[in-house]
């Protein structure tokens, strides 16, 4: 297979996702008056900025062939910590933000260390991490804490004009910066290329002399960092810390990554596809909202179904690649 052909084949899933987004947005525009507007499109970013940040971290983890189930409750922990430090402990935003980010980074790095150093399955370590972070939320406070801090209020209400009367929130800028950083790391750094190598075949990566240990701990640390940042962005959006925030959000993050064309087996994918994935996710939510009669739980079912479809697509796609040796043989693939 020529190199060009391979690249085309690899970018196919994200093109499918882009097509799906255009189709859904188009269908919404035709069915509902007032659906088609630039602001409605920008709202997809405003409403899902936090998810985009989470999903970028998750993309890195999944490209390396791992999984991080703790992101949703890490987000909750970070909203909880921010609101507690701001409102109850009286810290300044300049102190709160670095602290929260450092906590996320440290917890992520710790999980990454356990996964790498003791060859534990990532899902069990991060599943325990999910409950640990959720439990820590309740240690911080049982009830929700509203945020009245001026900086946070300012971030919540500020709008940056994009074009004519349309605008985006500062969170969108943060999210896009994270996407750019994620893309840069994956494409142009040694660290990023090592992530692809690990996802392709970890053993080979070790034999090639790549710093597998450092990289594996690093990606979980980055994912923890992204979760914490996403929590801060989320609290800009909701202006409250609440321990039940982000329940099930790990699935949303994984869903957007998978829908964006990143292979769950690792080694293939990128953040651009993930952006499309988030757009598809957001459009489903808006469609269900515009439709009006379906309750919001249908979003969950629709997302589950889409993930299923894309996983199926991935299997077909992998079978098409053929030579990888994964002939779809019986039995569960290792995690």
């Amino acid at each position: 297979m020529s190199r060009k052909g391979l690249i085309n084949l690899r970018s196919l899933p994200s093109l499918v996702t882009l097509g799906l987004f255009l189709l859904m947005f188009g269908a919404g525009s035709l069915s509902f008056p007032g659906f088609f507007s630039l602001q409605n499109f920008l709202n997809l970013f405003i409403d899902n900025a936090y998810l985009l940040v989470l999903a970028v971290g998750m993309t890195l983890v999944i490209v390396a062939g791992g999984i991080d189930l703790s992101v949703g409750s890490m987000l909750a922990l970070s909203t909880m910590l921010s609101s507690f430090l701001l409102e109850r402990a009286g810290w300044k935003p300049g102190q709160v933000i670095p602290t929260v980010l450092a906590v996320g980074l440290a917890l992520g790095a710790f999980m990454g260390y356990m996964i790498h150093a003791f060859s534990l399955p990532p899902f069990i370590v991060t599943l325990a991490g999910l409950y640990l972070a959720r439990g820590l939320c309740y240690v911080v406070s049982i009830d929700a804490i509203g945020i009245k801090n001026e900086f946070w209020q300012g971030m919540a209400n500020a709008r940056i004009p994009a074009e004519a009367a349309n605008s985006v929130s500062p969170s969108v800028i943060i999210a896009l910066a994270v996407v750019a950083a994620g893309g840069f790391i994956l494409r142009s750094t040694k660290f990023g290329r090592t992530i692809y190598a690990i996802g392709g075949n970890e053993q080979s990566a070790v034999l090639m002399g790549l710093p597998v240990a450092r990289t594996k701990v690093g990606i979980y640390a980055i994912s923890g960092f992204c979760s914490a940042l996403s929590g801060i962005v989320f609290s800009f959006y909701t202006l409250a810390g609440y321990a039940l925030n982000g329940r099930g959000m790990e699935m949303d993050a994984i869903a957007t990554v998978v829908i964006g064309g990143t292979l769950l087996t690792g080694g293939v994918g990128g953040v651009v596809g993930t952006v499309f994935g988030v757009l598809v996710y957001g459009t489903i939510q808006v469609l269900i909202m515009f439709q009006g009669t379906l309750n919001s739980w249908w979003t969950r079912i629709a997302i589950g179904f889409l993930v299923f479809l894309f996983c199926l697509l991935q299997r077909v796609f992998e079978a098409g690649r053929g030579k990888s040796g994964k002939d779809g043989s019986a039995g569960p693939a290792s995690c």
Binding site: G135, G209, M251, D252, I254, I303, F308, S329, G331, P332
Partner: protein, 345 residues
């Protein structure tokens, strides 16, 4: 002494030791922990409560033990519990007088059937589509909550049909009725897996699916049915959960149960790396999990914090099971030089 040494070699020893240790802690620190009274003809007390409350986890643990033995995992069980509870509550429904809309037994069968179908869906994704078990069951973990909420119209459905309360609140010969159901399911599962070759087949698939297939085992079907069975167990668990509170809450029923069940299985001595299973151990594991929960409650700690403790226990236990840690402890120096090699490269 020889007796003790013999005992410590048995696989059940370590889980049992942990349980006894936890019980001893309670003996000293929780007042009246072991008091058992007879009220209205059946036994009352903390210990009985633990037995009763661990039943839903035990059902899940039976199914999950087999799944984990195939080197898989099913994290959708909590959501399937909610679906099953939702279906049975909607079918029985009934007014305040307690007249069921549909026959109770039929409704129960329908709920378990739906749960089994959910399990088959998982099995299909893992065995035929070839998805990783975590992802396949994660889909149902999240979509399943949605399905449960849609089934119950996003409301908490209350039940007033008295006979249905037997499952979760009833007593037989002084003991909670649900325990007899657990015992029945456990015995049946043990008979089928240990008196036939099925158990060996399951373990073979867990060790090496390809080799198992070449040995003539239909690995795909084994994996498929193991997940279906896990769904079936979750369905029964859902009935008991629903009956205990006589209501179905799609949002909270079975929430976090997957964690408890995995913890029970792992504590019981079944390794996450598959290839071996130990049903009796999982039962002891479930008791440990429930005793731990009860102990935490007894200290007036909010129930949610219990998860924090359990998370730490999962980490510690999986660390103890990790071969890397064992070999690491055996030869600390060996590990260091290996790490040095990697860093140097």
């Amino acid at each position: 002494m020889a007796f003790l040494r013999n005992l410590s070699r048995k696989k059940i020893f370590w889980p049992l030791a942990a349980l006894v240790l936890l019980m001893c802690f309670n003996l000293f620190f929780t007042p009246n922990f072991f008091r058992v009274e007879i009220k209205e003809g059946h036994l009352y007390g903390n210990v009985i409560d633990i037995l009763k409350n661990s039943a839903p986890i035990m059902f899940l643990a039976i199914g999950l033990t087999l799944v984990i033995a195939t080197k898989g995992v099913d994290i959708s069980v909590g959501s399937v519990v909610a679906i099953s509870a939702g279906v049975v509550a909607m079918l029985i429904g009934g007014d305040l007088k307690g007249v069921p809309k549909n026959p109770i037994l039929l409704s129960m069968a329908a709920a378990v059937l739906v749960a089994t179908l959910a399990g088959m869906w998982n099995g299909l994704l893992v065995s035929r589509v070839g998805m990783q078990p975590v992802i396949a069951t994660l889909i149902l973990l999240v979509a399943g909550r949605g399905i449960a909420m849609v089934t119950t119209n996003a409301m908490v459905v209350w039940l007033y049909a008295k006979p249905f309360a037997l499952l979760g609140q009833g007593y037989l010969l002084g003991l909670p009725f649900s325990l007899y159901m657990v015992a029945f399911l456990l015995l049946a599962t043990m008979l089928v897996t240990r008196r036939t070759a099925l158990g060996l087949f399951i373990e073979a698939v867990g060790i090496n699916p390809t080799a198992a297939r070449f040995a003539g085992i239909n690995a795909r079907n084994i994996v498929f049915w193991v997940y279906a069975f896990s769904g079936f167990c979750a369905g029964i668990s859902g009935l008991v959960v629903c009956s205990t509170v006589m209501s179905a809450d799609g949002n909270n029923a079975g929430d976090g149960y997957e964690m408890n069940a995995i913890l029970a299985v792992v504590l019981g001595g079944t390794s996450m790396s598959g290839g071996k299973f130990y049903l009796m151990g999982s039962m002891v594991g479930a008791l440990i999990v429930q005793t731990l929960t009860t102990t935490i409650y007894a200290f007036n700690v909010p129930p949610e914090i219990a998860f924090l403790v359990k998370a730490v226990v999962v980490w510690v236990v999986s660390l103890l099971q990790s071969p890397d840690l064992r070999s690491g402890m055996a030869g600390f120096l060996g590990r260091r030089s290996e790490g040095g090699k990697e860093a140097a490269a």
